[in-house]
């Protein structure tokens, strides 16, 4: 009956339990919000693979063999899989060889456990980041929870991760003034961003001092003369880029039009007489009708074609860029074999670093270019150019030549 429905809807939220300030157990939160909870737990489901993404945890190193050589010298060269639902955030982190082949810092826990904010409060920011991952993983069990994104009192969206707050405040953003629409992207930007571990304390840091485009990020890293690893074959000081979804999205037409992550990854769905946000956060290709059709009056097939054609172009450029990078690595390795040292190869190594950083910015970004199609292609074009220049520079090495004139 309509009256009943109305009362039910308006008497919402039905606070059946009080949620404590530090409560992270989704089950308890779920008692008050059963619809959202139902979606949330579905992130455990494997809905299968899409052309480039989806929840099937395939091995990225097998699918794109070039990655093994490009990441030579970094843990990603040992184990790198396609990501899946939030349910697995803590599970997959504990299982990956990236935490066993090398000793990782507690900083890893920041984005993989709902316990993180509490542990940070108790241990202090530096101590938490510095602590060995193995010493914290025992407690970091809840991969994702309502508390990551919501204020238990008001259910409003909130920022719970220090690294993002620090980076935004350094950029002069007053998070208290955030609009609702901004928060619909910023809660995601707590984790779906490029990061590095700064200094002895391994403090989780976002490289945004100069801006969030790959060009600005490069300036940030070069100023610190920072490197994530030394490339095993070329000896170049490399940067490993991870999931810069927020940064790439920010350069695209959707972001400019105010379309937030939640609009496409948590669309509204109908639950009886009300609509709620679908908390089964996943690939929009798994439910295009809700995610895209409200704004685009196109058929499911048309929308799918739009995405795939953008991704196919990006994927073709990714493969092209990998060929150029491999050629550069071969050329530098050949020069070293012929006796070249770091001082002979300075230019080639600088170019290898710059080229691979750009390729990784698109390769590790998880939309295969969809979040900003033209920018993705532009960045890959630069990557290819710089990689070929690295190959040319290494080719110029001439064993006979008198060192003095270098």
């Amino acid at each position: 009956d309509i009256v009943g429905k109305k009362r039910e809807a308006l008497s919402y939220p039905l606070k059946v339990v009080e949620i404590g300030k530090n409560e992270i157990d989704p089950v308890l939160w779920g008692k008050n919000f059963p619809f959202e909870y139902d979606g949330f737990v579905k992130t455990e489901i494997d809905y299968g693979a899409t052309r480039y993404g989806g929840s099937k945890q395939f091995d990225r190193l097998e699918r794109y063999p070039a990655l093994r050589r490009l990441y030579a010298g970094n843990a990603f060269g040992v184990d790198y899989k396609e990501e899946r639902g939030h349910h697995y955030a803590a599970i997959d982190q504990e299982k990956t060889k990236r935490v066993s082949v090398v000793q990782q810092p507690g900083a890893c826990v920041n984005c993989h456990a709902a316990e993180a904010p509490l542990m940070i409060e108790e241990m202090g920011w530096e101590a938490f980041n510095r602590a060995p991952y193995d010493s914290l993983k025992g407690r970091a069990k809840t991969g994702s929870s309502c508390s990551d994104c919501h204020d238990p009192e008001t259910m409003a969206l909130r920022i719970t991760r220090p690294a993002f707050r620090i980076a935004m405040e350094a950029a002069g953003v007053d998070l208290k003034k955030a609009t609702r629409q901004e928060m619909r992207a910023w809660v995601c930007a707590q984790c779906h961003v490029e990061y590095y571990f700064k200094g002895e304390d391994k403090v989780l840091t976002l490289p945004w001092s100069r801006g969030r485009s790959i060009d600005s990020i490069e300036v940030h890293y070069d100023e610190y003369a920072f490197k994530d690893f030394t490339h095993k074959e070329t000896g170049a000081p490399m940067i490993k880029i991870q999931h810069p979804e927020f940064e790439l999205w920010g350069t695209g037409v959707h972001a400019k039009s105010g379309v937030a992550c939640a609009d496409c990854h948590m669309p509204y769905i109908r639950e009886g007489s009300v609509k709620i946000s679908d908390h089964w956060v996943r690939s929009p290709l798994d439910h295009l009708e809700q995610t895209c059709q409200t704004c685009h009056r196109l058929t499911k097939e048309e929308l799918n074609e739009r995405v795939i054609s953008i991704q196919d172009r990006t994927a073709a450029l990714l493969r092209r860029s990998e060929l150029a990078l491999i050629a550069a690595i071969d050329a530098i390795a050949a020069a070293r074999a012929a006796g070249a040292g770091d001082d002979d190869l300075g230019e080639a190594l600088r170019l290898h670093r710059a080229a691979q950083m750009r390729w990784d910015f698109i390769s590790s970004e998880n939309s295969t270019g969809f979040h900003s199609p033209q920018e993705a292609a532009r960045v890959l074009a630069e990557s290819i150019d710089l990689a070929r220049q690295a190959e040319l520079a290494a080719g110029k090495y001439d064993p006979g030549r008198d060192r003095g004139r270098m």
């Binding site: 429905k5 109305k6 809807a9 308006l10 919402y12 939220p13 619809f35 008001t154 259910m155 409003a156 609009t179 609702r180 105010g258 609009d263 509204y268 109908r270 007489s273 009300v274 609509k275 709620i276 409200t294 704004c295 685009h296 009056r297």
Partner: protein
């Protein structure tokens, strides 16, 4: 010419303009702003496009022009109708209005408020932690009344 003369002429011109506008208001059945039959809006051919698109919209069966474009508290209703009726008559007469015609913030707010009026239940949970001002229905549903324009 002295400022005084100039202002006289201005006043005179203004008078003529008003006269014309009033004529338009009546001739173009300005009072149509006061009724709810969508066809009355098309007394002005410049409303044709919106009428046609509404005619194809999901709301043809659900809402008339005024259901979305006029406030539904009695006072506001006639105030806005009169204001729009007058503004649009003047605009129509002088021909000084943007092309394409684009909704102004007052009328956009009016439309948004009307979404809530009819869909209060449907959106109740969206608004649990936020005020109405913090959600813009037209951002996702801007075309419910007019399918053509994103």
């Amino acid at each position: 010419m002295t400022t005084r003369n100039r202002s006289c002429i201005l006043a005179a011109m203004l008078g003529v303009a008003c006269g014309l506008a009033v004529f338009t208001f009546l001739y173009a059945r300005g009072p149509s702003y006061l009724f709810d039959d969508p066809r009355t809006c098309t007394n002005c051919h410049v409303m044709r496009a919106e009428f046609d698109s509404w005619n194809r919209s999901s709301h043809k069966g659900g809402a008339t022009c005024n259901a979305c474009h006029t406030p539904h508290n009695p006072a506001g209703k006639y105030a806005v109708k009169a204001l729009n009726g007058w503004n649009h008559s003047v605009a129509f007469t002088t021909g000084r209005f943007p092309d394409p015609i684009t909704i102004k913030s007052l009328n956009r707010t009016v439309a948004a408020d009307n979404c809530h009026r009819c869909h209060e239940i449907m959106v109740s949970r969206m608004l649990a932690s936020y005020s109405r001002k913090e959600v813009d229905c037209a951002r996702c549903h801007g075309s419910v009344g007019h399918p053509e324009r994103n």
